[in-house]
Symmetry: D2
Subunit: 287 residues, 4 copies
């Protein structure tokens, strides 16, 4: 298992000397730093860091690294939360979609052109409309119709499918179902949703209609990790576009589609590159 | 009273032939059109138009124009709301300010360099901090301290002052007082406020703090006409800027200041150029 | 041939009464105006207009309209250039592509989801790489390899193919060949290119490399009609995105791809909706 | 001389262990890191770092720090270029201006509201128009008329004045004179200009006219350090705004003014906060 680089993501209570200590540990083990990004939240006194280093001459084997770090480094820091990733890991990603295809196609086009560092994604939908297209892309498509009655049961089946495929990241590409608490809790900070408004403005259903009615001059899209509070999860990325009185609701929807796919794809990339730290329902994105 | 051009702003129920009728009226009276902007709200079936024409050869005297239009043209249209303005009119504008100077200075700098088509503005403040600066700009400054007890009385004094100066437009340049219903009703669609958030997100007090807490990736500013519903008036203009985890609340405030002054100045200009139509608590801005 | 609406695009020397005359012509023939957009270039004294009206009650048959306009209306205007289109016309569009798929996929996804008002597009490429994907989309793909020797001959074959398919619009979706003068002249203002820079900065080859070297803080993309002067044609649409020192050339390319596909698709839509007027190597886009 | 924090800016040839070595040096001397920002230019193999640390418990006196660093730390690094600054240093800034006031007023308003960490700036102009306004702001104004004949002599007098005021940063706030090589070389990477275009598009005179003629859909402004090559110095910051066919050249100028003042002020702030590194005619801005 050759590894090109290792990535440490960590948060802990701030204290003097963290960077010196950890970079020294790398230096002594011949781990040349590729990128160091740190941030201190002075209000909360929380230290955040993303550290990436070359593994070619690193003296600790990749397979032992997590154990070593957990035993020798992590214990020095209060309230530490950390993970170590490897850059050559190929993520397994599931895309959930309903009837609107724009975010799905955008992700599939990126997958096909090797823009995303993923294995073949699997696609799960509560509708059958997009099945044939996905087949053309040679991507497996699973149909799970959802009703009020079967919802929890279908979600269980979905979870089994996801686990059998070893899926680590779920992307809701305009999936028009609210996931149950149980489902959300199975993938903490690993379900990314795209909401078609500039949150916290216009949460919930039909945000473009609400934006049109309010007469805003700019509309937005927001990608966020899904939590059990609807549209309240940590925001990963947002972007906006101007609208005018000449734009109908249909124009809002159309302009919004282009926003949604770009904003969602950025969030997915940040996640796949291990550039996101989450604490206090907020994200630090070392983009 | 030589007039360079006349500007008609109108809304009415949509019906066939409006443009042909009114442009014919102009053509027959030798009023050469400088700019015609129209819009139909198809959901509400409302026709909106801004029409500007040269007066140099126009056969109806400027002084008779409003009467003529009201008698011969307007009655053909259902639910018509209209106004005629003259481009060489010098507006009388009052700026209300509290302690923060950035929007005030920005407007004064534009006034000094003849960017705004206004007579000397008057400045009203509930604090004295900025008085000396305004004097340096040679702009009259009036101090009206506000308390819960004296508020209505002070507002009456302000209204008298405004009327004695023949003020037509009030700009709230970060004025930290909520105006009474009586005051607002005295200047319908003629009080412009700048709110330091991307409305309808974060209305009310301390929006930058709320935005920081929510972890948004973009902050905004919104200029709107003041109505009796706080931060609910018709939006005139909005703009946004990116923020990251590295931005503290102070950074939000700082970045926001630059947004606020630009967004407010744009709204003021649209108003001074008679480019804004209001209906259903929304604006049409023919910018 | 039922027509929902007609669209007039015209430029002429400015003169008084144009709008009154033409809107009267419509009004007298029961053509209810859906949208009127006009602009006067005061430096060049050129009048521009886009006028769209309902055909349901219009008394002049759609099939006679162009002849009628040419005979009775157009002759009154100096230097007039005009066209009449019908909103229900389904354009025939050809997409030229080389090896990069992002713009092609984006257009195909829009076509598949009925976002673009076109018949099945045809695809022409000087490489075979993308053929299989296009087949999956069920869109015909034609391979025309180009060398210095066969170029003119291949272009002739392409022109024959385009004419046999009655193609009206050619979109260069990152097509890495310079078209000959003869080819360009066969489709005046009907070939849209996407250039991967903020023109006029960085024309020609490898603009991202040049932008990187120059150390710009923002990169852009530009869609324009193709003329015989490379990257000098009338600009239709531009957009930009921020870059920092952390962005490598590869990051420029990646960020640029997202720009290119959005900017190109906007230009294509403006064209398909007959919203673009061209004069003096500039465009008026009534968006 | 109490110091709140020290800031190291450095570039050198990249080598393993730089961060570990320097952060260890700080840690051993009880210098708690406030912010560490680093970047490696992999094409040029150059390491860049901005490091800020608290001085309250730091064991090396601020007055000895530069000497210590130069003797004990810097020699380990090839091609090192470094500076140490103190956050409580109050910069001395000169503003050069001609007739256009918008950038000057914007900077003065920021100075007056303590947004910029500077001593009273001095103002130098080749015209007298703005003298009275500057007096109102209580900022010293020096008039140096420039002709082809007196230019070098006047520049010498300006340099003497600047040195007598101990000026470290010169800001050209729409100063319409080209500085001589001798003048520029006296303030390397310490003269910031605002150019009213999106460089490298439209360098030189009358960029808005050129942009209008070319028919661009977006205009920009660029702040850069001045070098002896006109408009070719390292770019610090850029921003853009949309224009349409409805914008005249005057509108370009007007929209541009708002861009220019924001872009220039950002560049000035980055400089005052020691956030800019320069190498190979490019900047790294750790904003």
């Amino acid at each position: 298992m050759p590894q090109s680089s290792a990535i440490l993501l960590m948060t802990c209570k701030d204290q003097p000397g963290i960077i010196a200590h950890i970079t020294n540990f790398l230096s002594q083990n011949r781990g040349n730093i590729i990128e160091l990004r740190q941030h201190v939240d002075r209000e909360e006194n929380i230290f955040c860091m993303r550290l990436e280093w070359e593994l070619s001459q690193f003296t600790i084997p990749a397979t032992d690294l997590a154990e070593y770090f957990g035993k020798h480094i992590a214990p020095r820091y209060e309230n530490i939360s950390w993970n170590i990733y490897f850059s050559n890991y190929r993520h397994r990603m599931a895309i959930f979609v309903s009837r609107l295809s724009h975010c799905l196609y955008d992700l599939l086009a990126r997958y096909k052109s090797n823009e995303l560092n993923i294995e073949t994604p699997i696609i799960i939908s509560n509708h059958q409309e997009l099945e044939e297209e996905c087949r053309a892309f040679q991507v497996p498509f699973y149909y799970f119709p959802i009703t009020a009655e079967n919802k929890l049961k279908q979600e269980e089946a979905e979870l089994q499918l996801l686990q059998s495929h070893n899926v680590h990241l779920i992307v809701l590409a305009r999936y028009m179902q609210i996931l149950s608490e149980q489902f959300v809790n199975a993938y903490p900070n690993r379900i990314i949703n795209i909401h078609h408004s500039f949150l916290p403005a216009f949460p919930g259903a039909r945000p473009y209609h609400s934006a049109y009615k309010r007469g805003v001059k700019i509309i937005g899209a927001t990608s966020h990790y899904v939590t059990t509070e609807l549209d309240e999860g940590p925001i990963i990325e947002q972007d906006v576009i101007r609208v005018t009185h000449e734009d109908s609701i249909d124009d809002f929807v159309q302009k919004g589609k282009d926003l949604e796919k770009i904003v969602l794809s950025r969030a997915v990339k940040y996640h796949l590159q291990h550039r996101i730290l989450v604490y206090n329902n907020k994200t630090v994105v070392f983009d």
